[in-house]
Amino acid sequence: MRRLLTLSSFLLLLSIILVWWNNSRQPKPIELIPTLTGQPEYCLTCHADLPKISASHPVETFGCVTCHGGERLALNADLAHSSMRGGANPSDLSVVEASCGGTNCHSGSEADDRHHIQRVTTSIQSTYAGAIASIRFTFGAQVDLTPRYGINAVTDDETQTGITSLLAFDPLSEANPSIQKFGEECLTCHINAMPREGEDYSRQTGCSACHSVGEHTLTTAIPYTQCNTCHNRGNYDLRTMTFTKRDDHPILRIDDYYQPIGVFTKCEYTLDCIDCHTRSESMGDGDIHKDQASIEYVQCKTCHGTLDELPLTKTLTDPNDIAFTLAFLNPVIDLKLGDTILVTEKGEPLWNIRILPNGTYEMYGKATRQYFTFRPVMGTACEQNPDEQESHYCHECHAVEH
């Protein structure tokens, strides 16, 4: 009995030492009290090495939980991550309102230009309305190209386009197997869709589809490679309605992105998509549009003008002009009051293009920071017919062999 007691008291001591040892090898919690919430969070205990997300979202102010959700006090990875919004992507449009929304953030009013979420959810990138209508028309499920369906149902109470709502497209209720296949295979790639399984696709929906370039970053300097993640030509097959992942990462702009038989100008493939295409073209303007063509409007002439007209310009007189905000978020150009920039025919600022005293223009690449100067068409020997402004007319002369 006495020996048993001694032995068990020894084992008791050992087990207490085990508890002490267990406790001493726990990682030391790293506390962060974001100024926005004032509530401690411990995500940095494991995630101290993450790159800073962006200059506009410093972790000292926002912390992690404001955007990502999750259990801020938990030091166990499973529990800490279990209530995260949207998994790896809090900007997925199913949760974006909770993650990125709020009147001080990205779901404010149109007047203060904070209605980003409303714009995106009605945009053609989210609804895919044109393609759905076109496929249904092609396979006989509807008699015209009128858009009736989006990837998700969406309404617009103050429509400028006459389209007030779209129903949610349900491939399973379609009779035609090709349309069903289209729904299964082709609608997973759009920013309002359920992302495909796998790490490669987890950030290809919501805001991050465009704005998250590289690990844990948000930016408005979006390189063409980011657009190319989806707009990458050649990995879907319309006959079989299949999609295959593209493994080769584009490096050479012209070879890897543009169609092999096409003709392009040098500026097209040295610039990035966002150097020409505007915010409302890519992110929507708050209205539901019927297809891509109805929202894409920038052409060569937007910057170069025609033989008869110079491109439109605007002199910056208001310090609150949206151009200054955009140039602040992506500081590639030192815009000043009194500068004259180009604007589109809808009045959107081309804030990275400024008129020079000699009447030519300078331009800074938004993603590459390349510097260009260029002349207007007016006053040159250009042989264009002013009625023929689509790019392929320009490409007849302005083509680059490669």
Binding site: L5, L11, N22, N76, L79, S83
Partner: protein
């Protein structure tokens, strides 16, 4: 030396048969030790637990992850509570299988059964105090069961929960029930139960004239055996608490999603399995209550065990009670295993 409660429970000598492992299984003594552990660790948790619906789950996370040794203490509390139910059940079965409930211990048997019911209620209320997404559906179904009782259901529901939506309001009531409403009765009944053990002649063994073995052991030897049991239980608790953390889930924000935990805590899995069969009052209230009534009536309406059989394993005169207890135990175990 002045006689104390300790000396009341530990007379100078007792028959060796009363303190044999193979007779008592050490179960009754272990429940006392587990309750002491529960009391101490429970008080320690109270230093940090915030009984407020917004903060409760967060304060549990603070205890679990931030307070030094807090996770360990919470695990100790959790594992002591789970072991308490198992050890109490073993104790109850031992008492039935050795016919230890016979006169004069009939009343103490009822006290023990009451303690067992209180322990189950304490375990359930304690589980609810986590107040995270894992508890809402079991809490809702568990408390809605009370409402199905005819006539007094609504009253009992208000008594337990305080009315309203349980997932929003029950915390204050459950906290008070757990800390005071159930704990104080357990302490009172527990002391009474222990007091009655000695008053009824110590742990049940055959009466002196039927005893074959008249060896007695000293108070010191008894205490040594108790201490050894305590050490072994402590080591087991420490190991369980070090390697198997108590369950925890994300904090509740509004109603948890429908895919949150819907399984009942393990000791109610058998009831949950029956609830799949039909009427919640019959399967969720009447049958469990009926089982309790059968158990309570064993000393009173089942054939009385012979005097010489009291305190011996599986005596003939006690067959019916043994069969009834076995059937109930097997029934509960099978239902528990069926519920996946």
């Amino acid at each position: 030396m002045r006689p104390s409660f300790f000396h009341h429970l530990h007379p100078p000598t007792i028959p060796a048969a009363q303190a044999r492992w193979r007779h008592t299984l050490g179960a009754g003594g272990t429940t006392v030790f587990l309750m002491l552990v529960l009391g101490v660790t429970g008080i320690l948790e109270m230093f940090y637990y915030v009984p407020n619906p917004e903060e409760a789950a967060l304060s549990v996370q603070v205890i679990t992850y931030h307070v030094p040794y807090g996770g360990f203490i919470r695990n100790l509390h959790y594992w002591s509570a789970q072991l308490l139910l198992i050890v109490s059940a073993v104790h109850l079965l031992r008492v039935i299988f050795t016919a230890a409930y016979g006169h004069p211990r009939r009343f103490n048997y009822l006290l023990g059964l009451g303690l067992f019911v209180l322990a189950i209620m304490l375990d359930f209320t304690g589980y609810i105090l986590r107040w995270d997404q894992g508890i809402c559906w079991p809490l809702t179904t568990g408390t809605n069961l009370i409402k199905t009782i005819p006539f007094i259901g609504d009253f009992l529901f208000r008594l337990a929960v305080g009315g309203g939506d349980a997932c929003k309001t029950a915390l204050t009531r459950f906290y008070t029930w757990h800390l005071f409403g159930l704990t104080i009765p357990v302490v009172v009944l527990g002391i009474w139960h222990a007091f009655r053990v000695r008053r009824d002649g110590g742990i049940a063994v055959p009466p002196p004239h039927a005893r074959t073995d008249n060896v007695r052991i000293s108070r010191n030897e008894l205490v040594r055996r108790e201490v050894l049991t305590m050490f072994i239980a402590s080591i087991l608790l420490v190991l369980l608490s070090s390697f198997f953390p108590a369950p925890i889930a994300p904090a509740m924000i509004g109603k948890p999603s429908p895919d949150a935990e819907t399984r009942a805590p393990w000791f109610f899995l058998w009831v949950q399995q029956m609830l799949k069969w039909g009427d919640p009052f019959i399967f969720g209230v009447l049958i469990p209550f009926g089982i309790l009534v059968i158990l309570a009536f064993i000393p009173y309406i089942f054939p009385k065990p012979a005097d010489s059989d009291i305190g011996t394993w599986f005596p003939k005169s006690n067959r019916l009670a043994q069969v009834a207890a076995t059937v109930i135990a097997v029934f509960i175990i099978i239902l528990t295993l069926l519920n996946r």
